[in-house]
Symmetry: C2
DNA sequence: CAGCATCCAGAGCGATACTG
DNA sequence: CAGTATCGCTCTGGATGCTG
């Protein structure tokens, strides 16, 4: 299937490469569009929340675990690993007595965090509207 | 019955209910924090993309279907319904020959779209950095 | 054209137990 | 403290076929 190949290979060789004059379609909504790639990474339930906390100040594993309600150890572990892989946070092992690990935001992570702040503000300001809309919709069923 | 579309939103019936005095903690990361509620709604694979297109100009069903690569009819249908419920888009049936339906952004939806634009810009500008970080990480395994 | 119904594979995630 | 490993369920979402 060409689609499989497309997803795997064209990732960033994207529309920047190629000698094509005008791309047949601009494809802002192609499988490999940056927005989609980003959403695949931060669209999960925990990444944004963890990033928010780590952005405030470096954090330890169990500190994060405690502060995010409902976040299990497994998911935190998994989330942190993925974020480190994405270059959003940096992991540092401190040579203390029972070993402690610190997670700090990277410069790249911080730029994302700044951007996400707009989203968080929108959520605070408008989630009420959304919920009202939902109730209204549900009533007319 | 496709119950998946209407994910039961205990949303605010959660801890907002009841007659509890003052929340012992401010809980910016509680289960019902606005950011989490928002992410639960737009964190899926399609909502943001659909919103982006509908924001440009009102769109018809199959128009959206064609322009978003890989989007199936089922998911588009599901996504549109949820977005309408959330008050982000409005659905209008036009009395044409073979019936056509238009989806237009609402004022609320537009404010969200404006906010999301920051995200899309970040994605365009930094997704390359993320991918480079991933490769670097994977190589050191 | 604009959907709905059904089937089911796989991802996501919580619960639990164990380790250095 | 900071994780890893495994099990099993739920939910997402793709494929396919049908309707007004």
């Amino acid at each position: 299937m060409d689609e499989a190949a497309l997803v795997k290979t064209a990732l960033f060789g994207d529309q920047v490469s190629g000698g094509e004059p005008p791309p047949p379609r601009p494809d802002p909504y192609a499988r490999n569009c940056p927005t989609r790639l980003l959403l695949d990474r931060i669209g999960d339930r925990w990444t944004v929340l963890v990033l928010g906390l780590v952005c405030e100040r470096p954090r330890r594993f169990n500190s994060l675990r405690r502060d995010i309600e409902g976040l299990t150890q497994k998911m935190l572990s998994q989330t942190l690993k993925a974020m480190e892989r994405d270059g959003l946070i940096a992991r540092t092992v401190l040579p203390t007595a029972p070993v402690s690990v610190e997670y700090a935001v990277t410069p790249l992570g911080r730029t994302l965090c700044d951007t996400l702040e707009g989203l968080q503000r929108w959520a605070r300001d408008h989630i009420g509207d959304v919920q009202r809309a939902q109730r209204r919709y549900d009533e007319t069923r």
